[in-house]
Amino acid sequence: MRKQERISSVQMSMLFLIFMTGSSIVIIPAPLTGMAGNGAWISLLIAYTLGMLLMTALLYLYRQFPDKSIVEYSRITLGNGLTMIILLPFTFVMFWNVAGIVIEIGTFFKSTMLKETPTYAVSTLFFITIALSALAGIEVMARMAAVLLALMFGCIILVLALVGPLYHPEYLLPVLPDGIGPVLHAAYIAYGFPYSELVIFAVILPLIKMKDKSKVGKHMYLALIVNTLTTLASVICSIMVLGPLSGDLKYSLYQLARLIFVQEVIERIESVIGFSLIVGFYFKASLLLLILIKFLAQLLRLNSERLLVFPVAFICLMLSLTTYTNEADLEEVVNITWPLLNNIAYVFPMLLLAFVAFMRKHSKRGKS
């Protein structure tokens, strides 16, 4: 993070894809199917539509201010005082966002593979890795993203293909037995995690190389579509294999991997799949930490970003070990409070900035 690093729009879209898919592919299908049943795929499409609208606003601001991050164009648009007020919740929520991902990793390991290991041991090792990755900078992470993306998607496709013999398409019906209410509820959850989190890319979009700026929109929209199709496939396949149990069993993709049995040769591969899924969690957390550090450095007008890496990572570690340590409380905050929190902290500032920038641009045109 010594000089201004630049990445291509393809690399940015890969970072975006792995960020959006990384943890949601494992976590999202179960609560969605638990709430909406066989209508979970409709919920996902509704959440995706809202995500597309947010992406449109994000790219609009990027086109208006191509070399500036959200902090910089917020100062231009709203002034210093109002910027601090509206971006302070952004900061707090981002701190907990990093912690929340690691809480999920710790819960995943505790419930599936490392049942006797204390959670703080797993979380500490994770945070050391995440901090060192963030310290390496965005160029290194972008290069890593290509390999990790291939690994993650390869494993997802492999799991969904190998459980093919267990598919029961009849489990997909009936679609809306309890009406539209549960589907809207599930859409609210899916919107909260992960679609409303895409706003944080406003911090790092200015790092795209000058020659690629015209292609950013196309690549980012494509990444969002790929993310939605992958999550949709995961949800539909979970329903077709697990049926009514899909809402009760957490970590659907991992559960599907446990069921793989091919001629007594390929079986019990869930641990291998589990590690590749953890890659998604790890990368999302690393990228989020990197974004948080850049955001803090810009907001507080600091000279050195590198000095913040370890204390911020340590604070996020402590937050992951002192907040929502109970699984039921964590589930409540993710399924109920998180969408509202994201709307207030992430979405509202961005929409406000987009609105003010739009009005100013049109009032200038009117005057000229």
């Binding site: 000279n303 002192t322 109920i336 509202l340």
Partner: protein, 82 residues
């Protein structure tokens, strides 16, 4: 408790060993921010080691639980959230 204390002390020592050279050449503003982060870190470490449930970000987030439940009631009136 001993395990937690040891974990925090080892991590803090490693962090300071890496950061002190950078801290010495940092600008005054950067040092103030680092100091502020260290104060926050010390408080959270105390909560972690002592397992006390003190004021934290979840205390702020929980203030939004009631309005969030209300939103869910509007979306799915058949769902009862206690």
């Amino acid at each position: 408790m001993f395990g937690r204390l040891l974990c925090v002390l080892v991590l803090a020592a490693a962090m300071l060993i890496c950061d002190i050279p950078k801290f010495k050449i940092a600008a005054p503003r950067d040092r103030v921010v680092y100091g502020a982060l260290f104060v926050v870190l010390a408080y959270l470490s105390f909560l972690f080691i002592s397992s006390i449930h003190g004021p934290n970000v979840d205390s702020v987030f929980n203030l939004l639980a009631a309005p969030a439940k209300q939103i869910i009631q509007w979306l799915d009136p058949a769902k009862s959230l206690s």
